[in-house]
């Protein structure tokens, strides 16, 4: 078998194991820790009888191990259980929200990644120059700025003062493309600023690091032009690490999405999860957590695979590791 393929299968196995571990942690987190769902959902004046009835209805009176297996098998069938507060199948709640969040994250990625790569490359091209120095500070500062500062400032400027864009990202189903774009402009802009800063910073670091290696020194001594060194010699070698950086940062989008969906009242999975946590609607919390963890693990897996595929030396490592496993 091709070593890269073997490595990929190995990593896929690890990712699956992590997901199972995660599902167990989520389940334990929600079930074993104190805080009775039925009690919370029925309120203070619930009688012991009504609590017992609700326990029975949701099967909460059965042993935890059995319920975990049921839950896990249910997920595989696409059955995520019932929401306790709304009494609607969780899968239906998820389906509505998932496409919204996917669109938000997807468009942000499409905007941020090319912008960040270009910025990182420009900075690395003249590392130590004035542009690089200023941009480095700005990018470092932006990557440490909370989304809710950028988001609230954006609302204050563009919705309240200038009245250009809506402050709340209501997306109705029949909305036209233009309305959709207008509603999403501020959330996407907010997310894109932070993500762009992070990717640009790491891209610059990766390229500058690469420029420090002996083969670049060789090229410099040979008299190759600086621009050519960066664009031809260094760039081929940074594709892997940079792809890794990009995938990791898309994974980091998860936390940004949680905050941004709150600022703009955006109807996405994160908002669903936050509301469910407040209402202690644990089946919904579990489902949303699984969805986010799944996306996260998948993206980190993609980051690992990309760096191996693009790096011949790591491929050799993969072969050794694959043989060892």
């Amino acid at each position: 078998m091709h070593p890269v393929l073997r490595f990929a299968i190995g990593r896929l196995g690890v990712a699956l194991m992590i997901l199972v571990a995660v599902s167990l942690l989520i389940f334990i987190g929600c079930e074993v820790l104190p805080g009775d769902v039925a009690q919370v959902s029925l309120g203070q004046f619930a009688t012991p009888e009504s609590i017992r009835a609700l326990h029975q209805q949701f099967g909460l009176d059965r042993p935890a191990g059995l319920r975990y297996l049921d839950w896990l098998l249910g997920i595989l069938r696409g059955d995520w259980g019932m929401s306790i507060t709304t009494r609607v199948p969780v899968s239906r709640l998820l389906a509505e929200r998932l496409s919204n969040t996917a669109r938000l994250a997807g468009i942000t990625t499409l905007v941020a990644v090319p912008l960040a790569l270009m910025l990182g490359l420009l900075m690395a091209l003249r590392a130590g120059g004035r542009f690089d120095r200023v941009a480095s500070i700005v990018v470092l500062a932006l990557s440490a700025t909370p989304e809710f500062l950028i988001g609230t400032l954006a609302v204050l400027i563009f919705s309240v003062k200038l009245r250009w864009l809506p402050a709340v990202a209501h997306v109705s189903n029949g909305a036209g493309l233009l309305q959709f774009a207008r509603a999403l402009l501020l959330p996407i802009g907010t997310l894109a600023i932070v993500v762009t800063a992070q990717i640009a910073r790491m891209t610059r670091a990766t390229i500058v690091n690469q420029l420090d290696s002996p083969f670049i020194e060789m090229a410099t001594l040979k008299g190759v032009a600086r621009r050519r060194i960066v664009l031809v010699h260094a760039l081929v070698n940074v594709v892997g690490p940079v792809a890794n950086v990009v995938a990791l940062n898309i994974a980091y989008l998860v936390s940004g999405v949680v905050v941004v969906e709150t600022i703009f009242a955006f109807p996405g999975v994160a908002r669903l999860m936050v509301d469910a946590v407040q209402a202690r609607d644990l089946p919904v919390v579990q489902a949303c957590a699984m969805v986010f963890c799944f996306a996260y693990v998948l993206l980190i897996l993609a980051a690992d695979l990309l760096s191996v595929v693009f790096n011949p030396r790591l491929r050799r490592v993969a072969r050794v590791r694959g043989a060892g496993a």
Partner: protein, 284 residues
């Protein structure tokens, strides 16, 4: 190495010297505000100083009032105390837990290293904010829960770094000598390895504290962190979010406070790193 390459990797950066001092003063100023909060507060942060919510800044309330007519400046100072104390405790917990276990894994190796490393792999493959949400869903929002979550979640990152740093040193001769002397694990970790990796761990502490501030503020901002009437900076942004539509700056001030501290911590570590590089370059 040739001079041309060095110029690329570690350029002389006189422009960054002031940045070091600016960021250091911002961090020090916020630390002072947090420590002296009871003295600095012009009013009790829970007192109503005005009948108007979101009143404009005046002589009584320098930054205006919040959504209930309380003094925003007093609440901001009170928030500084809560935010910094929580972030510091969480980072301390993360450093002690992750640092100790990481160094232990580095010198012990074997199954202990394998088990700890796998656990850390799993923790690192979870989105932190989602872990926070699940735990809060289970135990309810509280300051202790917030500190514990952040402490454990960030311990995984410290573990990786401490283990890597420790593993580099564990193979050096003086460790071998200490082992040959028959020193125990505790002496190896705290007496031999730790003094040699204090600087990188300190830099990591500052960066991680900025992460912890952002993480906890985010949880408070979505309403699942510090609960009213108390509020950290993230909570203050949330409380006053409705002021935006009136064109008030009330939620912007606490958000700026978070950003200024997080950015200053990052710039500080960046500048110190540059300085160390500069010193090394001169030594060579």
């Amino acid at each position: 190495m040739s001079g041309a390459i060095d110029a690329v990797a570690a350029p002389p950066r006189p422009a960054r010297r002031p940045l070091f001092w600016v960021s250091l003063s911002i961090v020090a100023a916020w630390a002072l505000v947090a420590l002296l909060a009871p003295i600095l507060m012009p009013h009790d942060p829970t007192d109503f100083v005005s009948d108007d919510p979101f009143a404009a800044p005046d002589r009584i309330a320098w930054l205006g009032t919040d959504y209930l007519g309380r003094d925003l400046l007093a609440r901001l100072i009170g928030g500084a105390q809560i935010t910094l104390a929580m972030a510091f405790l969480a980072t301390l917990l993360a450093s002690l837990l992750g640092g100790t276990l990481g160094l232990l894994a580095a010198i012990a190796g074997g199954w202990l290293d394998a088990v700890l490393s796998r656990i850390v792999d799993i923790v690192l493959s979870l989105p932190k904010i989602i872990v926070g949400l699940v735990v809060v869903a289970a135990v309810g929002p509280s300051m202790a829960a917030l500190i514990a979550i952040a402490g454990v979640v960030y311990a995984a990152g410290v573990f990786r770094i401490a283990r890597a740093l420790g593993a580099d040193i564990a193979v050096l001769d003086f460790i071998l000598a200490a082992r040959a002397r028959g020193e125990g694990a505790r002496w190896l970790v705290f007496g031999e390895i730790l003094p040699n990796i204090v600087m990188p761990l300190a830099a990591d502490f500052a960066i991680r504290m900025s992460f912890a501030i952002l993480f906890m503020s985010s949880l408070s901002f979505i309403g699942l962190g510090v609960q009213p009437p108390r509020a950290d900076w993230g909570g203050l942004v949330r409380e006053n979010l409705s002021a935006l539509s009136a064109g008030s700056w009330a939620p912007i001030f606490p958000a700026l406070a978070i950003a200024s501290l997080a950015i200053a911590l990052n710039l500080l570590v960046d500048a110190v790193g540059d300085r160390r590089q500069a010193v090394r370059a001169r030594d060579e």
